[in-house]
């Protein structure tokens, strides 16, 4: 990460750590919890959908797997302080990644739209299992988590800080990917996978790695969400709208960038939660989603961060060229004999 990037990250996390201590209202912290959940999931999706260019629509399956896994584990936990389920999150992540690896090895033999269809099929398979494996998941009657003994005055804070930590972790992983040959290989896969394989990039391994890490993080967020909600149902734990949201957020902010998914999550989830409060939890936000998606495709097909970065780069280049032109003026040409090619150019 550049010096500017490091400064931005330090400022962001300093604000995230300090902000809740400034006496924010519950609804604001609750909104922040959901923004953070989607920021982590979008950043995680970005590893496979952004860097590798494989548009997974099945991530909500792993969100549900994480939620149900932690719910099932929590049944056997003695919860005293309320933090015990959080200790299991790394295990949830590993379980999600372990389930994701063989799925990636098979599904990532397909590409683009076929891959999207394969992964959304996975989502519905997992949802169907959640409905029908009643002995394990509770089926449509839902699965209860232990009630956390957190005081009502700061109930959201443990979830909030766990998610801030997860955001820091997923962003650190993203930076590590971008700065290593893993990121270079994934970018090559996105641009031209056959060519990448032909120049010795281990495409298969990199794709499976990216998918596993990505769904591992998604499963962890699912676990936090389940514990936060205290009661989960298949239609909400394995919800196609979750997938659509994280894809949309990444597209809006900018795929294959560090800050894009975070920005997209802040705008979309923040906006959606705010509208839900204002409009009483109506489904109008879905219309807003459709409008945003159309606008992105029309106006910002590469997302906010890459578009702004391109414009800044162009402006810097023009300034440099202008400065160079002032520093080294072209030799005088005879006025009566202009070179027609130079004029035309």
């Amino acid at each position: 990460m550049s010096f500017d990037g490091t400064v931005r990250a330090v400022v962001l996390f300093a604000v995230l750590v300090v902000a809740p201590l400034a006496g924010l209202q519950h609804w604001v912290v609750n909104l922040a919890v959901f923004v953070l959940m989607f920021a982590v999931m979008s950043s995680a999706w970005n590893l496979v959908g952004g860097f590798a260019g494989y548009p997974s629509l099945g991530h909500a399956a792993f969100f549900g797997i994480g939620a149900y896994t932690l719910g099932i584990i929590s049944k056997h936990l003695t919860v005293t302080t309320g933090y015990e389920p959080f200790y299991w999150l790394p295990v949830i992540g590993l379980i999600g990644a372990a389930i994701g690896a063989p799925i990636a090895a098979v599904s990532m033999r397909t590409r683009a739209d076929v891959f999207a269809i394969v992964t959304i099929t996975l989502l519905f398979v997992v949802q169907t299992l959640a409905f029908n494996l009643r002995g394990i998941t509770g089926g449509s009657q839902g699965l209860a988590f232990p009630i956390p003994p957190f005081d009502a005055s700061w109930f959201e804070l443990p979830y909030y800080y766990v998610l801030v930590g997860m955001l820091a972790l997923v962003m650190a992983v993203t930076v590590a990917v971008m700065r290593s040959k893993v990121g270079l290989g994934l970018s090559a896969v996105r641009a031209d996978e056959d060519k990448a394989r032909g120049i010795g990039v281990p495409t298969g391994g990199l794709k499976v790695l990216a998918f596993s890490v990505s769904v591992g993080f998604t499963a962890m967020v699912g676990g936090v969400w389940g514990y936060y909600e205290s009661f989960i149902y298949p239609q909400f734990a394995v919800d196609p709208l979750i997938t659509i949201a994280i894809v949309l957020m990444t597209f809006l902010g900018g795929r294959a960038t560090l800050w894009g998914p975070l920005l997209g999550a802040a705008i979309l989830e923040g906006g959606q939660q705010y509208l839900a409060y204002e409009l009483g939890g109506s489904q109008f936000y879905l219309i807003a989603y459709a409008l945003v998606f159309l606008l992105i495709m029309l106006v910002l097909p590469r997302g906010i961060v890459p578009t702004v970065a391109d414009r800044l780069r162009l402006r810097r280049r023009r300034r440099r060229q202008a400065a160079a032109a002032v520093a080294e003026p072209e030799p005088d040409r005879p006025l009566a004999d202009p070179d027609p090619k130079v004029v035309a150019r």
Binding site: R179, S180, K181, A191, D194, K195, A196, I199, G205, L206
Partner: protein, 243 residues
């Protein structure tokens, strides 16, 4: 002179069309061998099979004395067999330096090392200078002209110090100055010990640079020999002129 590549009885059909039909030829180490023939004679299909992009229905490919029939493209690349494409294939949204670093051919256990290692940077700097692309290292490949992309693709396959390079129409769509540049680079690399197999339609380029010449027609070789004898060969003339 030892054989760098031996192709034996290679056959590949697409539906009812036999694109490559019992094709056999060899490429000796240190040569610049041309593979020419009229359109549809199977040249690119042979390239695709030899480099692992396509599976043969029958036949055998040996590279540097080892049977590599059916081996994957990545494995062949790391063993020293690399290629370019008819339409220059670079990664447009990566920088020129990234394009070169990506082609360095690191195995999976070295993927967690820095994106561009010092060794990559040094090697890339040498190649960019040799190919007249210095100053473009940080430019996106998409910003290069078509000819520059051809040069970048050629330079990229040299990042891994290959033993045999297959060039698919290296002069297609480039200006005469760049044709000479390509020719110079092939000669220099040949002098450095690299073997070439070139598919090319520009016969003057072939006659200047290549020896021997393998002529394909309907998926099988009809002539193999020095360039001076190609133009007078009856079978070759019939294949090209439809006699």
């Amino acid at each position: 002179m030892s054989e760098m590549l031996r192709v034996t009885g290679l056959t590949r059909a697409f539906g009812g069309v036999r694109a490559v039909d019992d094709c056999s030829f060899t490429v000796d180490e240190g040569t610049v061998t041309a593979l020419i023939g009229p359109n549809g004679s199977g040249k690119t299909t042979v390239f695709n099979i030899v480099t692992g992009y396509l599976r043969a229905d029958a036949g055998r490919v040996e590279f540097a004395g080892r049977d590599v029939t059916g081996a994957g493209t990545g494995r062949l690349y790391r063993r020293g067999l690399s290629r370019t494409f008819q339409q220059a294939r670079v990664f447009p949204q990566l920088t020129v330096l990234d394009n070169l670093a990506a082609a360095a051919g690191y195995p999976w256990w070295q993927q967690f090392t820095p994106r561009v290692r010092a060794a990559d940077r040094d090697r890339a700097a040498v190649l960019l200078s040799e190919f007249g692309l210095d100053g473009h290292a940080d430019a996106l490949a998409a910003e290069l002209s078509y000819g520059q992309r051809k040069l970048l693709e050629f330079a990229a396959v040299l990042m891994s110090t290959p033993r045999l390079v297959l060039l698919d129409e290296p002069t297609a769509g480039v200006n005469p100055v760049l044709v000479e540049t390509m020719e110079r680079h092939v000669r220099e690399r040949r002098a450095a010990g690299v073997t070439f197999l070139i598919v090319e339609h520009d016969l003057t380029f072939v006659m200047r640079l290549c020896d021997p010449v393998v002529v394909l027609d309907a998926g099988r070789p009809i002539f193999t020999g020095p360039p001076a004898q190609v133009q007078g060969n009856r079978l070759v003339l019939d294949a090209y002129l439809g006699g």
